[in-house]
């Protein structure tokens, strides 16, 4: 059996014909296997959904109880048979509950890694390396200019700024699912124990993280706070909110943005960011290339991001590689939409 007989890119996403399922489908399908809770990977309206408990919970939080016909929770390391196919979930280190999905048929193993990172993150299970024949990798930061460094240093930068500008508020744009909680956890690790304020759109998911045993210290909704009270504080908000009239409630806010994109100045300037924090949920260039090498895969399929550069690198290392040209993924933090009314929710 050839790899493409097991997994094939189609319009709805990666399709596994012999197993009768799609991975992270972008259109409603009968049976979906979902890597993680980000909205471009986990969509509503499928017949049956197989995912980790956390991913299912996040989908429920976002879409309501009827987001799928039926659901099945699976643990890391647990194997599920679907037709002739064996499916096994492994931690991807991307966000809470994120998984790589190892799809095996006879002695051929393909790993669809979804979004992943090999960097430390106190809010989720660390990335696990899975040996395979074909490795399917993202390429969000698939250029050698993307090297993300230690996130703890970026948090130090934020705290130094808070110390230097005690009369200003610090507004940190961070993707609501995963990034925000990681930034909070890193702030706590750095010894910051003051209350951290949250934009309304972040409360639910952050409380969910806490309910899964992730300690985040004292969190307060920013809603209802007086402007002067916010001097010297840190507030987390979805990236789109930080360039909004919403920011007028803050005293002379320093606009920070926690994202791997902040590595490139033009990107930061374009968004009017004053304090770029290079903190990423995705593997950087060194992470991508190291992981690809370590899987032992002889063939690499590259999904969303900077496919060209990563495919070129694979080929230069003697690996068979090709872009999958899947559409509908990526740039999640650039496009996160804050829904009307989320601000006012309890």
């Amino acid at each position: 059996m050839r790899p493409q007989d097991i997994l094939l890119p189609v319009a709805a996403g990666l399709c596994c014909k012999p197993g009768g399922f799609h991975i992270d489908p972008v259109r409603p399908v009968e049976r979906a296997v979902i890597t993680h809770g980000h909205s471009d990977h986990a969509r509503a309206g499928h017949g049956a959904v197989l995912a980790t408990q956390e991913t299912l919970d996040m989908m429920r939080l976002r879409y309501g109880d009827n987001f799928a016909g039926s659901t099945q929770a699976v643990r890391y390391g647990e194997e599920v048979r679907l037709g002739d196919i064996k499916v096994k979930f492994h931690p991807a280190g991307h966000v809470l509950g994120s998984a790589q999905i190892a799809v095996s048929c006879k002695d051929l193993c393909i790993v669809a890694s979804g979004d992943y990172k090999d960097a430390r993150d106190p809010t989720c299970t660390p990335f696990e390396l899975v040996a395979c024949d074909v490795f399917i990798t993202e390429a969000t930061f698939g250029l050698p200019v993307f090297r993300h460094g230690d996130a703890a240093d970026e948090v130090k930068k934020l705290l130094a700024s808070v110390a230097l500008f005690p009369e200003r508020a610090h507004l940190v744009g961070a993707y609501s699912l995963g990034k925000a909680q990681r930034v909070i956890a890193l702030l706590r690790e750095a010894g910051y124990d003051a209350p951290i304020y949250l934009h309304g759109a972040m409360e639910k998911i952050t409380r969910y993280y806490e309910s899964r045993g992730i300690a985040l210290g004292e969190l307060r909704p920013v809603r209802g706070m007086k402007k002067a009270e916010l001097a010297g504080t840190i507030t987390l908000a979805p990236p789109t909110a930080t360039s909004d009239i919403w920011t007028r409630r803050f005293p002379d806010p320093v606009t920070a943005f926690a994202s791997g994109w902040m590595r490139v100045r033009a990107r930061a300037r374009q968004r009017g960011v004053e304090l770029p924090l290079v903190i990423s949920d995705h593997a950087d260039w060194d992470g991508l290339t190291a992981t690809i090498g370590a899987t032992g895969a002889g063939e690499v399929w590259v999904t969303h991001g900077q496919e060209d550069a990563l495919v070129h690198w694979c080929k230069s290392k003697g690996l068979a590689a090709r872009p999958l040209d899947l559409v509908g993924y990526g740039d999640e933090e650039e496009t996160e939409v804050v829904l009307d009314g989320e601000e006012g929710e309890a």
Partner: protein, 550 residues
């Protein structure tokens, strides 16, 4: 280097002036000598060493990375220094502890003495030792491309804030100071006396004029003013003073305080009496003032050959006097300074330095007539080099900057403005390899302070040689690239001022500025003029009113 790099990094993103000041002051307070002094020097453009060419940086990265990946990366990032800083490969030195990254002091002192052939290897070593931000700052420093929206003035103001001093005091003593400014910081921190400006021939901040409009005349009394020709040359300050040993030192400064003495050695012997003269640099042949285009041959020259000096004899036409030997004259009324000047020029008795004549007038119509016909009103054969008249209040002290109501300039041609180059685009046909289409702008209040608003585009009027100069300027001063368009640095203190001539002006709702120029062309390059002194949109709007009123 890392701390300095962090500062630059943060400053590059911070839009607010006060916040920039706060960042700078905090850095200067928390950083030890001499590093902070070298940082101040870097920010004020006071460091001198041979800059590394982009080609050298490109070679270094090509030796270390896959050219295809470099291509993709450079394309994505759009800035060579930044691309190299980000993708420079990490080196792990086996069996060694990694050496500590270089300090700013090491970098600056080493660059001063480094031979050209040693530069690539040294640069590579530093790049190995620094992190991303450090590499970026280093490359900006060594390529001389530190454009982060910080003016020298702002950096000095931040230093002054260390000791709650007046930035003007620093400005005055600045020519006598040298990096790493240990004496300056000692004074600012209350550990030592104020450094005396030991420069025997210091620069004094210049006084500037406002452009006069028709409506202004009604409020002005002709009897309060002295008129002079406005010469189409280069404004300079010629200063001569005695050093500690009593030797006379002479210097020539541009209006922004840049020491341009080396470009005009032929004028120095004429500055043989101690004093500070404000005047216009001109080329005179057979006693006749030559046009600006002739004078231009003497500008921006690295080497001044005897032939150049013979063919383009330099001359100083004096119109004000700021100091007479030890005496500071700046507090005196203009009329009295002028008397001092006349006596000084007589005593000097030097053919290369003469007095700019006054233009006698009884009332405004008489001055209008003189301005329209300088040849008939006393300028004689020099009339071609007259670009208008200057009006100076008899009682005006010499005040730095552009004080209101003291000095007025009244240019002959109303259809000329000084604009700032904002964007450049490649030309077509034989010019396709040059940036020859220029978008220029003037200042306006954009709500959050002054900003430049584009008012027109020009692609001719300049000579081939000027085209090469602008092209070079564009390539060296690109801040961003959008397809074929390059954003060229246009900050108050950084950028290129273009004198733009045009045939007419019309209202245009299609343009952001609200005005459209007919037939704009580059009349002249004003390398001597800082962008902050370019014209304002209000000037164009007033021109528009007077055009429509006619």
């Amino acid at each position: 280097m890392n701390r300095f790099a962090e500062l630059l990094d943060r400053l590059a993103y911070e839009p607010g002036r006060n916040n920039k000041l706060k960042l700078l002051t905090a850095y200067l307070r928390d950083t030890e000598d001499p590093a902070r002094g070298y940082a101040l020097a870097a920010l004020t453009g006071a460091l001198s060493f041979k800059h590394a060419k982009p080609g050298l940086i490109r070679d270094l990265i090509m030796e270390r990375t896959d050219p295809v990946l470099f291509g993709y990366s450079y394309d994505y990032v759009g800035d060579l220094s930044e691309t190299v800083a980000l993708m420079w490969p990490k080196v792990a030195l086996v069996g060694h502890n990694n050496p500590p990254p270089p300090t700013l002091t090491e970098v600056v002192t080493r660059l001063r003495t480094l031979g050209k052939t040693e530069l690539p290897a040294q640069l590579a070593r530093w790049l190995d030792e620094l992190d991303e931000t450090g590499r970026w700052a280093l490359l900006k420093l060594v390529t001389g491309a530190m454009r982060i929206g910080i003016s020298a003035r702002l950096a000095k103001t931040a230093a002054a804030a260390l000791g709650e001093k007046d930035p003007h005091d620093i400005e005055l003593m600045w020519p006598g100071l040298a990096p790493p400014y240990l004496d300056l910081f000692a004074w600012l921190e209350g550990r030592a006396e104020k450094p005396v400006n030991r420069d025997p021939a210091p620069f004094r901040p210049v006084m500037l004029a406002h452009a006069i409009e028709d409506a202004d005349f009604a409020a002005l009394d002709p009897a309060d003013f002295i008129a002079e020709w406005k010469w189409d040359g280069i404004r300079v300050q010629a200063v001569s003073g005695r050093d500690e040993r009593g030797h006379l030192q002479a210097r020539l400064y541009s209006r922004s305080g840049e020491d341009i003495t080396k470009s005009f050695p032929d004028l120095l012997p004429s500055l043989h009496l101690p004093g500070a003269i404000d005047g216009e640099l001109l080329v005179l042949r057979d006693g006749r003032v030559q046009t600006f285009n002739v004078l231009q041959q003497r500008l921006n020259r690295k080497v001044v050959s005897p032939k150049l000096m013979k063919d383009y004899p330099i001359h100083l036409r004096a119109y004000d006097m700021l100091g007479d030997d030890e005496n500071d004259l700046r507090e005196l009324p203009f009329e009295e300074r002028r008397t001092h000047l006349e006596a000084f020029i007589r005593k000097l008795a030097d053919p290369r330095i003469d007095l700019s004549p006054t233009v006698p007038f009884a009332d405004w119509p008489a001055l209008t007539a003189a301005r329209a016909d300088p040849a008939g009103a006393g300028a004689g054969l020099d009339a071609e080099a007259v670009e208008g008249v200057m009006l100076k209040r008899r009682d005006a002290p010499y005040l730095p900057g552009r004080p209101k109501g003291q000095w007025w300039k009244w240019k002959r041609d109303p259809h000329i403005i000084d604009a700032v180059l904002m964007y450049a685009q490649r030309g077509h046909g034989k010019r396709s390899s040059y940036y020859s289409d220029y978008t220029f702008g003037v200042w306006t209040n954009g709500g959050a302070g002054d900003e430049l608003v584009p008012v027109g585009k020009a692609y001719f009027g300049f000579t081939d040689e000027e085209l090469l100069q602008i092209d070079r300027f564009v390539r060296r001063n690109t801040t961003e690239k959008f397809g074929p368009v390059r954003h060229v640095v246009h900050e108050p203190d950084q950028g290129l001022v273009l004198e733009v001539a045009f045939e007419g002006l019309a209202r245009s709702p299609r343009h952001k500025s609200g005005v459209a120029m007919r037939f704009p062309r580059i009349n002249r390059l004003r390398w001597d003029k800082p962008p902050r002194e370019a014209d304002r949109l209000e000037t164009l709007e007033r021109m528009l009113k007077s055009v429509t009123a006619n």
